[in-house]
């Protein structure tokens, strides 16, 4: 019988015609659920997990030490100075927040577009978003110098009788980033509730049962609840979609509202958003490729997911490349000597090496993704993704440093070089990010069980190999 729930789906789901499927064949509702939840519920923690966690945790300690020293000595331990007051703090902030954007894109925008291939990667991509936003938030917080006064940025009645300046992009940023963090957390948690109930019901250990039981809040899969749940999830996706576009737009306003040459440009919002999604998909691949191999999830995170992510990277990478081209063109076409100088200084000034590295890593190397052989080779994809992550970091370095170090008045020019504390803080946040990812894959289901079962149910209904949603 086709619809017997115990019978496995014998065909690969949503593939065919040379397109890899979004899920391998031979799964039942039960085996999908057990395969994903047993990674979390297994009593044995793999040795490689401990090694990886210990390694990244060492970086967390380095981050904490850096923060201690930063609070003790002040932001003077960083390489920032008067013309280049932003330095690593803002470069890293923009880099991290951009990485987060792919998670929301996958979970919200692809949901609205009915892309079935989002299903197995949305959960960990959303976790990636949360952890990236948490790391991003650290930088402006500590860049303030007196982070304990961060609440001065919020509008609250106070004895000083002053209010935040709502005409400033820096205040917009506070609202955009905190809303983004909150909504990402809510979206992620709502998605987790049914799976937490699955874990509660499968757990053997009493303590584990209670913890997942509290987190699942008594979810029991009622049809009335599912109906409200589905519509709420869809509306949350519809709310998160313009939100994610607004966040990097507001981040780009931090630059483009300033009248500095090289920053004051209307191309910033679209080109920042494209860059954010570009680096975010690179991070998704950097996480997905080792995860699927290590946990044997090749049937759930298939080549289809990797290839589609590579295509999104290629498309957004081309938009970013177009952005660099237009920046150079407008510098010449505007006839503004300061704009022109700023562009020439970027390409041939003291930081030229960063600019050309950026062009190589962000525009030239990713062109290899045109080749199907690169898109369907996980190790190569992994390497290209790492290169793109470096490239997107260099982009922010070039934007922040070259525009600040030489503006209109040569008397106020300066140079920038990061100190060891800049690097320990940056590498520390990378360690923090991966340490959180390690905890996440151990403690929570990294693929949405309920959504994978829905995918299975839909394919049982049609009972045939479909190529719908092929890209």
């Amino acid at each position: 019988m086709q619809q017997e729930s115990a019978a496995p789906v014998t065909h690969p789901i949503d593939g065919g015609d040379g397109v890899p499927p979004v899920m391998g064949p031979g799964y039942t509702f039960r085996s999908v659920s057990e395969k994903i939840s047993s990674i979390t519920l297994s009593r044995r923690t793999p040795r490689a997990w401990w090694l990886g966690f210990a390694f990244t945790f060492a970086f967390v300690m380095m981050l904490l030490y850096t923060i201690f020293w930063l609070l003790f000595e002040g932001v003077g331990i960083w390489g920032i100075n008067v013309p280049i007051a932003w330095g690593f703090a803002i470069i890293n902030f923009v880099w991290w927040i951009g990485i987060g954007h792919a998670g929301t894109l996958i979970s919200a925008i692809l949901l609205l577009l009915h892309q079935k291939w989002r299903t197995s990667i949305n959960r960990f991509a959303e976790a990636m978003t949360l952890f990236a936003v948490a790391n991003a938030g650290l930088f402006p917080l500590f860049h303030m110098g007196r982070p304990w006064f961060f609440y001065w940025l919020l509008p609250y009645p106070n004895t000083m009788r002053i209010w935040p300046q709502f005409r400033s992009p820096l205040v917009w940023d506070v609202f955009a980033v905190s809303t983004y963090g909150t909504v990402s957390l809510l979206f992620w948690y709502v998605g987790l509730i049914p799976d937490l109930a699955t874990l509660r019901d499968r757990a053997r250990n009493r303590f584990v049962q209670i913890v997942y039981g509290i987190l699942a809040m008594g979810w029991r899969g009622s049809a009335h609840h599912w109906k409200r749940y589905e519509i709420t999830y869809l509306i949350l996706a519809a709310l998160a979609t313009p939100l994610v576009l607004s966040v990097h737009t507001v981040v780009s306003f931090d630059f483009s509202v300033a009248i500095l040459p090289g920053w004051h440009s209307t191309i910033f919002p679209p080109y920042f958003v494209a860059g954010a999604i570009y680096s975010g998909f690179a991070m998704v691949l950097v996480l997905a490729i080792p995860l699927r191999t290590f946990y044997g999830l090749q049937d759930f995170i298939t080549m289809r997911h990797l290839q589609n992510s590579a295509k999104v990277m290629l498309a957004t990478g081309l938009i970013v490349g177009y952005g660099y081209g237009i920046e150079a063109f407008m510098a010449w076409y505007s006839g503004n000597i300061f704009e022109k100088y700023s562009q020439i200084n970027r390409m041939f000034g003291p930081y030229a090496v960063y600019y050309w590295l950026l062009i190589t890593t962000n525009v030239i190397i990713p062109q290899s993704l045109w080749l199907k052989s690169v898109r369907s080779n996980p190790p190569w994809l992994f390497l290209v993704s790492l290169i793109v992550l470096v490239g997107m970091w260099l982009e922010r370095y070039v934007i922040v440093v070259t525009s600040l170090h030489r503006d209109y008045l040569p008397s106020s020019w300066g140079n920038y070089s990061p100190t060891v504390w800049d690097w320990t803080m940056f590498l520390g946040t990378i360690g923090f990010f991966f340490a959180l990812m390690f905890l996440f894959v151990r403690l929570l289901p990294m693929i949405s069980i309920a959504e994978m079962q829905t995918l299975l149910a839909q394919s049982k209904e049609t009972g045939e190999v479909t190529t719908e949603g092929k890209s």
């Binding site: 017997e4 499968r202 029991r220 009622s222 069980i449």
Partner: protein
């Protein structure tokens, strides 16, 4: 346990989503109204088969969004025009275009908070205890089992008649759910 406990209802377990939808439809046709179905994932047409067509969630979220937009704009107007006017080279105090980003963010924020807390409120969650958790196999309702429960509060509910009715739908098993 009491030999004849008061019942919460009768639960029938089915093997597949399709069987559950058919059972729900038959129960609705037989006149049962106070009932619910339980499944590990959302099933198309199941809420409708139970007679649950509309939810107030979209309206609630819309109201949340409107509240966010109005309060966001009002907050900025109050701060920049009434409480703390700053004269920047004679520019107008009511500079509303520059308030759009914060208004937008607050619209999304309040709408999303309403969505999540509204969902929990309408579903009556968190609810750590529920009578159905007494059904021995109910822990599989979050994995691969599909349940239909007719509640004792339904006017047509009768312990034996309803049990016979449910057994006629070819379930895997019918169990009594104690209060």
């Amino acid at each position: 346990m009491d030999t004849n406990p008061r019942l919460y209802g009768l639960a029938a377990e089915f093997d597949s989503p399709t069987a559950l939808v058919q059972a729900a439809r038959s129960a609705h046709e037989a006149g049962y109204r106070r009932m619910d179905a339980y499944s590990p994932f959302p099933i198309e047409n199941l809420p409708e088969a139970l007679g649950f067509y509309r939810t107030r969630m979209p309206l609630l979220i819309l109201l949340g969004g409107i509240t966010g937009a109005v309060s966001g704009l009002a907050l900025q107007y109050y701060c920049a025009v009434i409480s703390y006017p700053v004269n920047v080279a004679g520019r107008p105090l009511n500079s509303w275009p520059s308030w759009i980003p914060v208004t937008f963010e607050l619209t999304i924020l309040i709408a999303s908070l309403t969505a999540v807390f509204g969902l929990l409120a309408l579903c009556g969650l968190p609810m750590p205890y529920h009578p159905l958790f007494h059904v021995p196999r109910f822990n599989r309702a979050t994995r691969d089992a599909f349940f239909l429960c007719i509640e004792a509060t339904d006017p047509r509910f009768d312990r034996t008649a309803t049990k016979d009715f449910l057994s006629g739908l070819h379930p895997r098993e019918v169990s009594e759910v104690p209060q």
